[in-house]
């Protein structure tokens, strides 16, 4: 069985702070990490590898520095790593991104493609289903658990607002994974020691067959018209009173806010 996992390097958004004076993002020194949902998806794939001996490939689209998460994936136990990197791919929205990744995936063998549900720097949850559409694959999103019958069917526990569904899907297919579904394994020490001795294949525009007008900034139907920081907060009221009075103040506020 061949599994391809699409992963993304993202800034650790929990580490991003707002400059209180300028109202801009402070991105300096913010660590880059493997997107959590993608890491959950990678764990799904590695578990199938443990159980069925699957061959696991990771692919990421990004700048050259994105190589770091491919090394991390090697240290976790993948077999092959591909970096999809070209200035022509840059500035893409989700649709243009999905076209580029789908073009790369067409060059690979797969029974299963796994992506994260969404990336923490965009939270769109779009690229996975868009890739599935380009490749004509059935999709199952929000996977919390993934089982394989050893032949041609995957069973997915798919989370939704009220609980979950158990769905079956025919291979080949695309599944988007939730980080909360699994605890990704740690990199092994041996995996770490050997990670930088393994090859990372760098694929550029010439490596894939894709219409240049449909990718990158120019191939993106959506554009950012403007971006702005959320307004700063005005200071609130502060009371230094006896507990009984404090309770009354809070109750009044709760009534005002329709909480009670």
């Amino acid at each position: 069985m061949n599994i391809v996992v699409c992963i993304k390097q993202v800034p650790d958004t929990t580490e991003i702070k707002l400059d209180p004076v300028k109202g801009t993002l402070i991105r300096d020194g913010v660590p880059s990490i493997m997107n959590p949902d993608d890491k959950g998806g990678l764990e799904f794939a590695l578990r199938l590898k443990d159980k069925f001996g699957a061959n696991v490939t990771v692919i990421t689209m990004g700048p050259p520095q994105a190589e770091a998460i491919l090394r991390e994936a090697y240290a976790m136990g993948v077999d092959r790593a591909i970096l999809l990197s070209d200035r022509k791919f840059g500035g893409a929205d989700t649709l243009a991104t999905s076209r580029t990744i789908a073009a790369a995936l067409r060059k690979l063998d797969y029974d299963l493609i796994v992506t994260g549900r969404q990336a923490i720097d965009g939270d769109t949850a779009q690229v996975g289903p868009q890739i599935a559409e380009h490749l004509g694959l059935p999709q199952v999103t929000y996977a919390e658990e993934l089982e394989y019958d050893g032949k041609d069917t995957f069973t997915v526990r798919k989370a939704d607002e009220d609980g979950y569904q158990i769905v079956e899907v025919d291979a080949p297919c695309l599944v988007t994974a939730l980080a909360s579904g699994v605890k990704p394994r740690y990199m092994s020490v041996r995996g770490i020691v050997e990670a930088y001795d393994k090859p990372v294949e760098v694929w550029n525009f010439d490596s894939v067959e894709v219409d240049p007008d449909t990718i990158g900034l120019n191939g993106s139907p959506t554009r950012v018209a403007k971006s702005f920081a959320k307004g700063m907060k005005a200071p609130g009221q502060l009371y230094e009173v006896e507990p009984e009075e404090a309770v009354e103040i809070i109750l009044a506020k709760l009534r005002e806010k329709f909480i009670i």
Binding site: A68, R71, E72, Y186, S188, V189, R190, V193, A195, Y196
Partner: protein, 379 residues
């Protein structure tokens, strides 16, 4: 000359920090409180290959080096010094002497099990009457046909009771003094071997520290480590390596106390401003931070020299001396800066201060380190 971490080092740090934070830290207070050996943590470390970092892949290890090993002990000790010393004793005091002195057969038998973490290792040199003066060994080993018979006892043995393999020093020829000491690989199930009373300690309370008793203990002749009479040299060289581990532990404790202190001083306000804003506080912390950074350089240099297979005895002694004294000073001050809270078990600095003290004592006291450093100076 290059002080940068390699990409491999960075990747390793990313892993070990996450592991320490998520798997080790949550247990630290509890295992200290209950004096419980964290078996489950050892199992988790084994799964990742942490129990055999510097062991070559052909012996089932991770194929890493001593730099990675020091980072592991440091980062574990930063959140839990007990976990740090379990790894240090196992790697430096049991795996290393077998790797460096073992026969092919001994390496093939013991290293895969130790490196995989299936077996835990320990080391026995100290006796009731042979502490800093380790040459005064009273445990004896007599060769009888195809085996040695060991008699005597060892004290303050880290990992005792949980370890499967012990490197034990014993006199094979009392007339030759230190040249009559030999080293043995003793398995816990060998006849006549038993674990005695467990010490109640001030710090590193989750680590098991016990007495070992050998009463007509039968050790196969092929378990002699190195040659007869080389035991003292093996022990001293093992302790040189062990000191790098303990220096890393001390460094981790100091860094952990610094982390807690910085966090606290930023949050804690007195007289209307954060304690971190007081210049006296800043100056004192600047000095401590400098000492921690210097400790780290010494630790990594000693590990680097060991990896390069050049003499590192004095480097290891300096690293341990300086890191241990830094840990003691840092943790003592951390408690002070936390005020009354620092004296309670609600905050980890109290535990860190108790844990730090042992780093000035075991695997050679600070005085012994000074002896080693001075001996190297005047040789």
């Amino acid at each position: 000359m290059n002080f940068n971490l390699t990409p491999t080092d960075e990747l390793f740090l990313q892993m070990i920090r996450e592991f320490a934070e998520k798997e080790v830290k949550p247990l630290a207070a509890e295992i200290d409180e209950t004096e419980r050996f964290p078996e489950e943590t050892v199992k988790k470390m084994a799964k990742l290959g942490l129990m055999g970092i510097p062991v070559p892949v052909e012996y089932g290890g991770a194929g890493g080096n001593n730099i990675l090993y020091t980072m592991a002990v440091e980062e574990l000790s930063r959140v839990c010094a007990t976990t740090g010393v379990i790894l240090s004793a196992h790697t430096s005091l049991c795996i290393a002497p077998i790797m460096e002195n073992g026969t092919q057969a001994q390496k093939e038998k013991y290293l895969p099990r130790l490196a995989s973490g299936e077996w835990l290792g320990a080391f026995g040199l100290t006796e009731p009457n042979a502490g800093t003066d380790a040459s005064a060994q009273q445990t004896t080993a007599v060769l009888e046909g195809d085996h040695y018979v060991l008699n005597g006892s060892k004290i303050f043995i880290t990992n005792a009771g949980h370890a499967n393999v012990y490197i034990i020093m014993a006199m094979t020829d009392k007339s030759k003094g230190t040249k009559g000491i030999s080293a043995f690989i003793v398995e816990k199930d060998f006849p006549g071997f038993s674990v005695g009373k467990k010490e109640k300690k001030m710090g590193i309370r989750g680590s098991a520290t016990c007495e070992l008793i050998m009463e007509n203990c039968i050790v196969p002749a092929e378990n002699l480590l190195g040659q007869e009479g080389k035991g003292f040299a093996i022990a001293m060289k093992t302790l040189d390596g062990g000191r790098i581990g303990i220096a890393s532990q001390a460094l981790g404790i100091a860094q952990g106390a610094m982390d807690e202190t910085v966090k606290y001083l930023k949050e804690r306000k007195q007289f209307g401003k954060a304690l971190a804003k007081f210049q006296n506080m800043q100056f004192q912390l600047a000095d401590l931070e400098t000492r921690i950074a210097a400790s780290r350089l010494l630790v990594r240099k000693a590990a680097f020299r060991k990896d390069c297979k050049v003499p590192y005895s004095a480097d290891a002694a300096m690293a341990k001396l300086f890191a241990a004294e830094t840990a003691m000073e840092m943790t003592t001050k951390a408690v002070q800066y936390h005020g009354g809270y620092g004296y309670t078990r609600e905050y980890p600095v109290e535990r860190m201060m108790r844990d730090a003290k042992i780093t000035e004592i075991y695997e050679g006291t600070s005085e012994v380190q000074r002896m080693v450093i001075a001996a190297n100076l005047f040789k």
